[in-house]
């Protein structure tokens, strides 16, 4: 990847301050301003300048200065220091990067950080919401649902959503709705067992919540 080069500590001169001066009212319809008046292709925006963004991750605000190309996955891993979400294929095929955004499971490698502004992001680090383990994390340990562990954070985030979506009613259902998470160690039977183990606790929490 070439888009992790901007340190979060860059300060003083950034795109927003630059544009506010340069483009003025022309870019007013847009929340994130860019160089060049919207609608005029002759004025090419300078896409090489970093931009300011605040991400809401696991309940905390994370102000960042990033390249526009930065995905949520790269923001988490390279800028915020949360390396639990994994980069497998980086093309939305393997599911290792799965996180919850506004409670929905999505692929952080295909989500631009700038597009996730204002939304609640939950990663494997914030899943349990405390020091203990989330029931799904405990179930993966109990059922030996991993070998190398690389896909596991994505599997667990996806599994929690799978249960909450109501798709953990049968082994077949679980396999279908966990198909977006690839495990090259092929721990699949144990992953199905883990999802089944954790489902009642998650559903009961959901009813209370």
């Amino acid at each position: 990847m070439t888009n992790d080069t901007n340190s979060p500590t860059i300060s003083g001169f950034n795109r927003r301050t630059f544009i506010t001066g340069a483009a003025g009212a022309a870019a007013a319809p847009f929340a994130a301003r860019v160089a060049g008046a919207a609608g005029d292709p002759r004025v090419l925006p300078d896409a090489s300048l970093p931009v300011d963004v605040t991400l809401h991750v696991n309940g905390a605000d994370k102000p960042l200065t990033i390249d526009t190309r930065t995905t949520v996955l790269d923001a988490l891993r390279e800028h915020i220091g949360l390396s639990g979400s994994k980069k497998g294929c980086d093309h939305g095929q393997c599911g290792a990067c799965t996180v919850l955004i506004e409670g929905r499971r999505v692929l952080s490698c295909l989500t631009l950080a700038l597009a996730a502004q204002g939304q609640q992001i939950t990663t494997i680090e914030g899943l349990a919401g405390g020091n203990g383990l989330h029931p799904m994390q405990q179930a993966f340990i109990d059922q030996d649902a991993f070998q190398c562990g690389y896909c596991t954070p994505g599997q667990i985030m996806s599994a929690v959503a799978c249960v909450r979506e109501g798709h953990a009613n049968s082994d077949e259902d679980i396999r279908e709705y966990m198909s977006g998470n690839i495990c090259r160690c092929a721990a699949y039977p144990n992953i199905v067992a883990a999802v089944k183990q954790a489902a009642p606790a998650i559903l009961s929490d959901q009813q209370k919540g």
Partner: protein
């Protein structure tokens, strides 16, 4: 990935205004220097592969507030283009009145991708042709007009047998558009001068001599909604693929029937995985209308669906597979209790 400027539209007019910058560049929409970003599952992927190279990305997700409703008023369906695939697939009314739509959405991609991808973006997804997706191949008329087509003599197992040309045999990879085209859906397009509505069958363009032009959308235009008249409770989407789940179709069929007293009053047949565009099979439909449904009719319809097929070295199996998919889907639709 190449650098780009990010703009976030706050409403439809601001999105249209930003996208209109591309309208002056005289490029096909797919080559436009300004691209809309919805779910991002095609765009960000292809930008990482250096296949799509926009200089500006306009985030249209804030438009979802106005453009993501599912409405079934007066027996007609209106689907907002920014509705997410997963939300439409689980809608009980869609499942009841339009099973072909619910199934096409449910059988596509993965749960995460369906949570992200929008209906409008889904219909506009780009081909999975490996020669298109891999820029190290010099020959791809879709990516680089006039450069040739590496798939013609290459590994073309996944490629199309219907609607091809000597310039391009890339398969249209989606499922949902086949369900829509089978139901005679219309697409509402919003641009600078307001909204226009066209039949979905007029949206995609077969490759012909200009495979780089994939749709009739102009730069600066956005799909805002899909419209379907009437209800189609007797409808199915059947998808044959290399894996049971999370895979593109090798052959698929979207079937909708109106059967009264054992006689087919109306029939819709669309094919996926085998054609360069969402493929409406009108000749087979004509064979069905007014006839009593049985297996012999299903077989004749399936034969007719692939009458014009043109196969290549590795994809001839799609004709036999496609016929079986059509026949089985017809049986499934005819046997439905509605």
């Amino acid at each position: 990935m190449r650098p780009f400027a990010y703009q976030r539209a706050t409403d439809a007019p601001s999105a249209i205004q930003a996208l209109a910058a591309a309208a002056t560049s005289n490029n096909a929409l797919t080559e436009a220097t300004v691209q809309p970003l919805a779910g991002g599952t095609t765009l960000i992927d292809l930008m990482k592969l250096d296949v799509m190279r926009p200089m500006t990305v306009v985030d249209i997700n804030p438009l979802a507030r106005a453009w993501s409703a599912i409405n079934l008023d007066d027996g007609n369906l209106r689907l907002g283009a920014l509705a997410r695939m997963s939300d439409v697939a689980v809608n009980p009314e869609i499942q009841r009145s339009y099973p072909v739509i619910a199934d096409a959405l449910k059988l596509a991609a993965s749960p995460q991708l369906r949570n992200m991808a929008t209906l409008g973006g889904n219909v506009l997804q780009r081909t999975r042709c490996s020669y298109f997706r891999d820029v190290s191949y010099a020959s791809c008329n879709k990516r680089s007009p006039g450069s040739g087509c590496a798939a013609l003599e290459g590994f073309n197992r996944s490629h199309a047998v219907l609607g091809t040309s000597e310039q391009c045999i890339a398969t249209y990879p989606g499922d949902f558009a086949q369900a829509l085209i089978a139901l005679d859906a219309s697409v509402e397009i919003t641009g600078k001068s307001g909204a226009r509505t066209i039949p979905l069958s007029d949206l995609h363009k077969a490759p012909g001599n200009s495979p780089q032009i994939e749709t009739t959308l102009a730069p600066g235009e956005l799909i805002s909604a899909f419209l379907v008249s009437g209800r189609w409770p007797r409808s199915v989407y059947l998808k044959a693929r290399d894996r049971q789940s999370y895979e593109f179709a090798l052959a698929s069929a979207a079937i909708a029937l109106d059967v009264q007293d054992g006689v087919v009053r109306d029939a819709r047949v669309a094919l996926g995985g085998v054609a360069t565009v969402p493929w409406r099979a009108r000749v087979p439909e004509a064979l069905l209308k007014g006839e009593r449904f049985d297996d012999s009719l299903a077989q004749r319809v399936a034969e007719a669906a692939f009458g014009d097929a043109k196969t290549r070295k590795h994809n001839a199996f799609k004709v036999a597979l496609g016929k079986r998919v059509v026949a089985r889907a017809l049986h499934q639709a005819a046997a439905m209790e509605v």
